[in-house]
Amino acid sequence: MRYLPLTPAERTDMLAVIGAATVDDLFADVPPEARLSGPIAGLPLHASEMAVERHMAALAAKNISAGSAPFFLGAGAYRHHIPASVDHLIQRGEFLTAYTPYQPEIAQGTLQVLFEFQSQVARLFGVEVANASMYDGSTACWEAVAMAGRITKRGKAVLCRGLHPHYVSTVRTMAKFTGDVIDWRAPKLEAEPDTAGVIAAIDGETSCVVVQYPDILGRIPDLAAIAEVAHAAGALLVAVVTEPVALGLIEAPGNLGADIVVGEGQALGVGLQFGGPYLGLFGCREKYVRQMPGRLCGQTVDAEGRRGFVLTLSTREQHIRREKATSNICTNAGLCALAFSIHMTLLGGEGLARLARLNHARARALADRLAKVPGVSVVNRAFFNEFAVRLPADAREAVRAMADRGVLGGVSLGRLYPDDDALAHGLLVTATECTTDEDIEALAAAIEGVLA
């Protein structure tokens, strides 16, 4: 077996040192009836690298990858071009095969990356501090709701209609067990987000208002207006960003009054990967840092006075506080945070702004073209790189029919909101820097074709 270095002779020598006759003697504490006598029956035995690669490649070939077809899906997972150096660098063994930096003297590489990552995220979001990452955007969103509850000592969260439905489901699941009250209604297929509705739902029991920016339909909510009302009621504003590239163009949520900003960082440096691993971004105002979940990296000095970095404020965390911890989270998404950080370093602020303008331009070109398809209308007034269109037919069926024609034509609202017939004709489409004019023509033709 190519991954196991011990030879049979070495195993024998080692057993002699241990004073055991056979390796099974080392399993003597396992009750005999629970001990398997040989390899589990019915399962395949070990296989060569070539054979395994062949098996896995055959599975991969049964999927349609984003790069192999005209592709317009978004809804919380975005296809962007990842510079070649990103994947090269994250595969360096010193990053890839290191553990959590619990021994900082020999983990300064990882720790400095986390410090730089936290700084980048905080600046992108317009907040003072960010942590070393969470599992993904949806779990970061729930953690923000829980954190707001700890800060305000209140138990009602108002979720905007335009929050990603998977994020809503995640929050609702957790709230079932913690007893928090969750106020949410499904979005309407309208040009503007329901700002007045969100504001009206805020009351004296509200711990936080959770607003996605841009929202699930790609619309841009008025964060400043919501922040003003939330703060007057003693509630926090939690902004959720699922497409961080947007912040190259639109104002940072922290600059508009958000107290906690969370997001999904996948769009930068991390591939689609059928939904994971991604990385949760989590930032907040400095005064709330001790209520933050997750790992934090901080600057310090070593015994010779040289600058160095360590994991810090760990008295918030489970391995110290156990049942009194701010969260049970243990791992972060270290390697995805590294990929995000490298991509962000390659772009810089100006590059991110340029990338964002290009995304928006591609989306405008897409909107202009789809508006000319008979029976199709663009729903949004404003959008970044994603928007909703209304079809004259059920969008779920249209998506399936387009896939049969080799076009991955977007995410139907019926997939996201199966219980809401009013949204059944809605289709979410996204364009990024990867989207070509030919792709756009292919989508327009596919929609015309399936509607015909």
């Binding site: 190519r2 270095p5 241990i18 080392l26 399993f27 629970a34 589990i40 399962l43 395949p44 896995m56 049964k62 999927n63 349609i64 990858s65 997972a77 063994g93 010193e94 990053f95 095969t97 290191a98 900082p104 020999i106 300064q108 590489g109 990356v113 410090f115 905080a122 501090v129 070393a132 949806s138 994020y167 489901s169 699941t173 912040l247 689609l272 994971g276 691993p277 934090l296 600057q299 000095v301 970095f309 810090t312 156990r322 049942e323 969260s327 049970n328 791992t331 998404a333 270290g334 390697l335 370093t345 390659l346 772009l347 602020g349 100006e350 991110l352 303008r357 404003a382 399936r400 896939a403």
Partner: protein
């Protein structure tokens, strides 16, 4: 045993001043210092070529535009590659040597796994693509699920949890949902004091009160104390098996039977599954739920702290409550995705969704590749070699390091030592930092909490005997120095990129990001 250093040469343990002859650059040959990107980068620099696109003033987005581009420095590609490559060299990693962190299972990460995960058919697939476009992805999840169920002898597996602690939460929420479904308001979760910190944190998050169960002098859960506490208020018990003292819980089946008889459920922390994979099926021990860290037993890379992946195997009693989405097999064997749309017909008791999308697919492809490479025979050999290596370390060092449970029988895949016998004023931390100078990553220290100055060594099966002998010789030397009161150990490490770091300062005056 091979002498690690046949010439007998030992580096001088002088003061920092004599070691550091200053250079103008601050670097020392391959010991390279690296500034922050905020010190290197320039506002207008970009390492990616991007077409210019103009934004018209009539654009509906105009009112929302930010006043200035984010204040983020950029670097060209060569500068970027150099920055991260230089930083990488300040890390220790499995690729450089043994990483014997107890309970973390730092084994070799096969590179085939990385190659497979990067196939566009896996890496470049959208989670919300229509099912006909992702048949291979669903089949991959189903195949890995089949293996995990077969290896554990369990009825079902929830694949979506994102990491071990998230998997714990999944298992505990299944227990909570099962109790709620029968209208039972049990509020107390029993947790042994040797448990990982995530166990009580998770149970508390799910609204349970925690009660600790003591350990016996031989390092196992106190069966009598546990059974005495069982009753109508006990929701269940969270047990790590093999436990964090490196021992198999002999009474596991009896504990499970007693908990079940009292109406509770048994959660097993599967962090240490590597010791028994292919040798013991947790399902045969009466477990109701157990998370599997794919980043431990199944070799997906730790990446400097994640991403992890924590699928949860479930007994028939808890399977109906598993979270959405859920991949199942139809009667014809085809993999099918169950989401909210079909949940009412196909999976009506699910406690809900724990996260967006389907779990850590990038880890599933790596883990399945690893499992197929090993097969049923190779996985069994993994457990045997992991346990053999740990016992070899235990028996090779018990004469110089106190091994509190050495008399309890063989250890499983990790060997536990304490600081007893070190000279006055010398601690586990000094041994750990000394190991850094010796060129090794330290073991897990000060955990489990039930042993004073614990040192938990998990070599894993991917260490060669020669590699173990070098590690043992270094640890023996350090133990002897600490017993003899060698003061130079207290200021170790001397040769790492940094000396001991001031963690108190970091916590007292937090500097968590770059300030201009």
């Amino acid at each position: 045993m091979n002498a690690p250093n046949q010439s007998g040469w030992r580096p001088a343990m002088g003061s920092a001043e004599t070691l550091d002859s200053p250079t103008a650059s601050g670097d020392r040959a391959l010991m390279l210092e690296e500034p922050l990107i905020f010190e290197l980068g320039r506002a207008g620099t970009c390492g990616v070529d991007i077409d210019e696109a103009e934004l018209g003033t009539s654009d509906a987005l105009a009112p929302f535009l930010r006043k200035a581009a984010p204040a983020l420095p950029g670097l060209s590609e060569p500068e970027t590659v150099r920055h991260y490559t230089r930083l990488s060299r300040q890390n220790y990693a499995i690729d450089l040597g043994p990483f014997p962190l107890g309970s973390c299972t730092m084994k070799h990460n096969p590179r085939l796994n990385e190659k497979v995960a990067r196939l566009p058919g896996f890496a470049d697939v959208h989670p919300l693509a229509p099912q006909q476009a992702v048949r291979g992805a669903l089949e991959t999840i189903a195949q890995l699920a089949d293996w995990l169920m077969a290896l554990t002898g369990m009825a079902a597996v929830a694949m979506s949890p994102k990491a071990g602690a998230h998997g714990e939460l999944c298992g505990v929420l299944c227990i909570k949902a099962a109790l709620q479904a029968r209208g039972d308001d049990r509020r107390i979760m029993l947790v042994p004091e040797s448990a990982h910190g995530t166990n009580p944190a998770t149970a508390a998050f799910a609204g349970f009160a925690i009660e600790n169960i003591p350990a016996t002098p031989e390092g196992r859960v106190d069966f009598a104390a546990l059974t005495a506490r069982l009753g109508p208020d006990i929701a269940g018990v969270m047990i790590t098996n093999p436990n964090t003292c490196g021992l198999f819980e002999r009474d596991m089946k009896a504990i499970a039977d007693a908990v079940h008889a009292a109406g509770g459920y048994v959660y097993c922390d599967g962090a240490n599954f590597n010791a028994i994979v292919g040798k013991v099926r947790p399902g045969d021990l009466g477990i109701d739920a157990m998370h599997i860290n794919l980043h431990k037993t199944f070799s997906t890379p730790h990446g400097g702290g994640g991403p992890g992946s924590g699928p949860v195997v479930l007994s028939a009693a808890l399977a109906p409550f598993a979270p959405l989405p859920f991949v199942t097999r139809d009667t014809d064997g085809a993999a099918r995705l169950i989401e909210e749309e079909h949940a009412l017909e196909d999976h009506p008791s699910s406690f809900g969704r724990m996260a967006a999308f389907h779990g850590q697919m990038g880890m599933f492809t790596r883990a399945l590749t690893y499992i197929l490479s090993h097969g049923a025979d190779g996985l069994r050999q993994v457990a045997e070699d992991a346990v053999l290596n740990a016992n070899y370390v235990l028996r090779s060092l018990e004469d110089v390091l106190d091994a509190p449970f050495a008399a309890s029988g063989p250890c499983m895949h990790e060997a536990l030592f304490s600081d007893a016998g070190l000279a006055e004023g010398f601690s586990t931390l000094d041994i750990a930092k000394g190991l850094i100078d010796e060129g090794f990553h330290p073991m897990t220290v000060y955990f489990p909490l039930v042993v004073h100055g614990a040192m938990l060594v998990e070599p894993t099966e991917t260490e060669s005997k020669a590699g173990l002998d070098r590690f043992i010789a270094s640890l023996r030397s350090l133990a002897e120095r600490a017993r003899a009161g060698d003061e130079s150990l207290k200021s170790a490490p001397h040769f790492a990129p940094r000396r001991r770091l001031d963690e108190t300062l970091a916590a007292r005056k937090p500097v968590l990001g770059w300030r201009d």
